[in-house]
Amino acid sequence: MPARDEPLTPEERETYEWQMWVPGVGEEGQRKLKAASVLVTRVGGLGGLAAYELAAAGVGRIVLAHAGVIKRSDLNRQLLMTHTAIGTSRVECAARRLRELNPRIDLLAVPENVSPANADRLVDMADVVVCCAPLFEERFALNEQCFRQGKPMVDCAMYELTGQVTTILPGKTACLACRVPEAPDSWRRQFPVFGAVSGAVGCLGAMEAIKLITGMGEPLADRLLTFDLRDGRFRTVQISRRADCQICGSK
């Protein structure tokens, strides 16, 4: 990965000035963002917003992985997609929109969804993974590869008006398989979603990645944030590793 540990240009300083005022960021944090690479898997209603915020924040290289073409029914939530691009590649449209937002960063568009066959290659492309997949099988493949390669994974998920976010530090915190040892029978690929909910989860996930990269704040490590926007309930639950976890367990 071309981690570009270079000084900021005057133009970059001006662009990122307002976030560099955040305590714990400054010029050093911004240089870390510039040098970092993040994989965002699927860039629809959730990952699209995560990628948008990461691009705006100046993450130096973003790898976008998502197969398929834009459908009309994507457009209530997939904010990187456009009406004029219906029928064309999702990931190419997303990369184009992100380049318009921030032409300073490297964007790699991979027209693939995560699977056990490509997870090792995709995870190898980045320092941090933001998992925004709609299927548990994709999440499990990413979780396993992140553990094997020692890469942190921000796990972002939603359903209807609820969201779940946690940050997995391989070998240190509960991994996805500790909490969800198998795919739930009840889960279906199509689910009710408002863009404002998936987008909120994506923005929370982007902030987790920014914290991991800059070292600022405390990631949601061993903690699962869950919320229901129907009535504004938020809970942060302490979660634990399982000694018998099939991915990261010691037994």
Binding site: F191, D228, R233, Q238
Partner: protein, 92 residues
Amino acid sequence: MRVVVEYFGPARDAAGVAREEVDVEPPCSAQEFVARIARSRGGRLAALLLRDDHLSPVLLLAVNDKQVEVEPVSLREGDVVAIIPPVSGGAC
């Protein structure tokens, strides 16, 4: 004793309520308490929370914001039990 139950995600819809107070006869573990609720309500809530009449292995339960693991966790007056099924909604 009386405990508070909070339902998240698909559990809220299946339970038909977000939050409720429930009387329970002590001693009772959180795991047994949730299994009893699922059995007594039946229908979609039971289908979501139970497998072979036991709690589903993929269900996250928390008492006072701490995950309930394998060992039984005894409930106390005023405890908040959160029922959090896993979801995977992402960028379809």
